[in-house]
Structures are given as structure tokens and as C-alpha cells.
Point group: C2
Chain length 267, copies 2
């Protein structure tokens, strides 16, 4: 048994979709969520800059004695190996490997279409994680994050934007068998994506497989918390706590009390 | 005569619309443009964070011996007075006062509708600059910056998004007499905004009045450059020079050679 918290970080609010899945799978665990809101988004930034920011965020969580760190941001997951080496023996998990596993589970031979940020597409992170067993098609969707953060998760604007990015993917032959939401912001657009993609195309995201991977790791290392606890999550942000609480609800699926959100400095 | 460059900074690429107007009004001047692309956008960040970033950017320009600094970002213009005090006697100009003057010139008694980022709206910067002589209505347009950076400056998506923000403004009674584009990104959406706003509503932005204010100040202080010169502009960015060169063209209106764009660190 280990009552220490699980640390989760993201550039902003998207990672709250991962935290939501984690909290649902592991309700007895304590969570500390860090959103680097002063420097969001990461998706349009270079790998070197994202790596530097991710290291600062992970260190801030490590200083708060977490027992495990989840990089709940696809773009920042490119730094997963480096963070794991720097922070060892503290375990570090990204969302890329669980996401790739989820897609391979439904479409073992592909083609797998990955929707992601410019940064993730440029790094080819999913193509590497999926490996040679399946064909991978990548599509950058730069407007999905601002749409999601504006709460425009359905309606005419969302439909047109989703069509803009999905049309080239849906017209591919052979047609993709799995559509992987490769950014933690995208699950809030799931309904409209799914409607446009049609019932034949399996939609997968990494939130639930990441939660399963975390549970497995905690169990294997005997790090799970007392089953009776139901601790309230803590939130840390680098800017604008009130905005985080307000917009974060879209992703977390429940209200966030602005008083629970603490402003910290990562410089 | 003074051959030193004019320094211009913005969170990213929007300020290039101001530099374009400056270069056209003052073709003999040298320009150094700094885009803080590692930390863009500023529009959703708190005043304290924007102030800190703006000071770092202005100092980086001052170290490069510029003769004048233009804050080509409405959100960062909130730090104009502080920057002027810190960097004196180096003159510092923001875009808020020139923008307010341009709106008052076409609609002296208002109402003036200001389209701007969340940050600028929250600060009420234009309402303060316009003062008591005209009624001011503010409308935050958080999707305009991502649309502009995606190059979606016309077409169905741009129309729907512009309508979403403009409809409440256009339905006001008494109707606004001037529509002020209170973010340096917005002029690239000018055509679709103007089509939806209709011919009765005067559209103003701060780029041209800022250029006029800069020319006036340089002339008054005898800081203008030799009229024969046509120096090439320099570009500094804090991240992703290739992306800056590619997307920057939308705002600058001419090609930017990636080899001209230098990566610097503001930390």
C-alpha cells in the first residue's frame, strides 16, 4: 500500500480526459494534476522546447512526492524516455504506447489513421510505437484544440472543421480500420468525429488504455492506495487558475472548484 | 539621421501585420522583429504573465541597440507604460492608443465595437484608451487567432466563426459605428469580417495608425534613417523558425526566408 499521489501533467486542460479515466479506474488514488497553462499549447512547438517544458513539469511533480508520473499529453510524451531516465526510480508513463496498443487491438494489420497535433505528427511518435505490423496514416488537426477549449464540441462549426481534417483520411484506399485520437483534447469531440467517420470505423483513444497500464504498474509494484480512501484531486497550473477551472470542466466531466487550483511557477 | 533598427515584438506572427504597415510607411528603416513563438498565444494568459514575457522580449530588443520598440500585440500592450519606464529613454509604443484614435476618428461618439482576445477584453484596455467620449462594446473572439494561423481566412468555416462572434455585436441598438480589430492577427480576416459586417460599419485596425505614430515620433526626435537605404528585415523567434517563416507569410504579405529567422532564448 502506498498513499502517495499519482502525478499527471499536460500543457493545459486536455490531460484532464486522461485523469478522468484514471480516477474512474482507480477511485481510491490521490491525484495531483499539473497544467502548464502559461506555455500552452505544446502541439505547435518544437521537440526541444517541449522536452524542456516537460522536464520542468515532471520535476515539479517529483518534488511533491508522487509515486508515479503520467504524461497526459501526446506531444510531451516524446520526452517519456528521457524523463524516465532522469527521474528513475520514479516510474513515468506516456500516452503514446497505450494509444498505439489500443489501436492495434482493434486493427492489428491497420490501416490506422492517427489524428494528432502538428508536433506529434512531425515526430511520427505513433508510427514508431505501432511499428511495422500496421500501416499508419497521420493527420494534423490544428483547430481541434482551440475548438475544444472554446466548448464548440458540436454544431455546424465543429462539423465543418472535423470534415476538413477527416475527409482526406476517409477517402483513403484501403480504408482505415481504426481512428486513433492522438491528442488528449480530442475525446471531447468524439461524438461529432464518430458521426462523420461512420459506424464502420473504430474510434480509439489512449485514456482508458493508459488507465489500465497505470493500474497494472501500481499493482505489480505494490504501490496501490488503501481501497477505502476517496481523496479529492489537487490541481496546479502555471497561469490563470480561474480559466483552468472554468474550461477544465469540459475535459474533466465534473466541476472544478477554482479554490482547489494552485498557481505555481515552473521557470 | 539614425541607422539603428526599429524593434517590434509580438507573441507570434500577428505583429507582422503591423510590421508590414511600418515597412510600407517607412521603407528606408531597418526592422528587427521578435516573435515569442515558444510561449504564444498571449491572448489567453494572465496580465502578470504577459507583463513578464513582454519585459523579456523588450529587453532582448534593447540589447540589440534598436532606436524604438513597437509592441505589435494588443494583449502585450497592457505592459506599455511599465516597459517605457523600465527602458527609458528608449521610446516604446503600443498599438492600443493608435487603434483607439483610429476608431474615434471614424466614430467620435461611438458606439465602437472592439473585437479582441480574451486577455485584451478582460483588461478593458480599449475602453480605457477610448475614454468617456464614446460607448465601447467588447467581444472576445478566441477562435480568430487559430483560424488565421491555419490560413483559414475565407470560406465556410471562417464565415461561421466570424458570424458567431459578430452576430451579438451587429444586433446591438444603437448599432456600432466602428468595428475595431483589436488584435494584430485579425486584419487577415478583414475581408470576411467586412462582408458580414456590411458596408455601413467602418472597419479599423491599429496597423496604419501605429505606423503613422512611429513616423511622427522618429521625425520629432530626428531618428529617421537615410532615405536611400532598403535594409532587409531581421527575424528572431523563441521556437520553430521554419513554422514562423511558413505561416508568417500570411500576415507579412511576402515570403520570409527561413534562413533569415534566428532562434533565440528569452528565459
Amino acid at each position: 500500500m502506498n498513499q502517495a499521489a499519482i502525478g499527471i501533467f499536460d500543457s493545459g486542460m486536455g490531460g484532464l480526459t486522461v485523469m478522468r479515466a484514471l480516477k474512474s479506474a482507480l477511485p481510491e488514488e490521490a491525484f495531483i494534476y499539473l497544467g502548464d497553462t502559461a506555455r500552452l499549447p505544446y502541439g505547435t512547438k518544437s521537440a526541444a522546447t517541449v522536452r524542456r517544458y516537460a522536464l520542468q513539469a515532471a520535476r515539479a511533480l517529483a518534488q511533491r512526492q508522487v509515486k508515479l508520473i503520467v504524461i497526459a499529453c501526446n506531444t510531451a510524451s516524446l520526452a517519456a524516455r528521457e524523463l524516465a531516465e532522469t527521474l528513475a526510480p520514479l516510474p513515468v508513463l506516456g500516452v503514446i504506447e497505450p494509444g498505439a496498443a489500443a489501436a492495434l487491438a482493434v486493427a492489428p494489420h491497420g490501416p490506422i489513421a492517427v489524428l494528432a497535433t502538428e508536433g506529434t505528427v512531425k515526430e511520427g511518435a505513433y508510427a514508431r510505437a505501432i511499428g511495422v505490423s500496421a500501416t499508419v496514416v497521420q493527420q494534423a488537426c490544428p483547430l481541434f484544440v482551440p475548438l475544444a477549449e472554446e466548448g464548440l464540441t458540436d454544431g455546424a462549426i465543429a462539423e465543418l472543421v472535423v470534415r476538413r481534417y477527416l475527409d482526406p483520411v476517409l477517402n483513403l484506399r484501403p480504408a482505415p480500420r481504426a481512428l486513433l485520437l492522438g491528442c488528449t483534447h480530442y475525446p471531447v469531440l468524439r461524438q461529432v468525429i464518430s458521426r462523420i467517420a461512420g459506424p464502420e470505423l473504430a474510434l480509439v483513444d489512449s485514456a482508458h488504455t493508459t488507465a489500465a497500464a497505470v493500474r497494472e504498474l501500481l499493482t505489480a509494484r505494490q504501490l496501490r492506495a488503501e481501497p477505502s480512501a476517496r481523496p479529492a484531486p489537487r490541481f496546479l497550473v502555471t497561469d490563470a487558475p480561474e480559466r483552468f477551472a472554468r474550461i477544465g470542466q469540459i475535459f474533466f466531466g465534473e466541476a472544478i472548484d477554482p479554490g482547489q487550483v494552485e498557481l505555481i511557477d515552473l521557470q
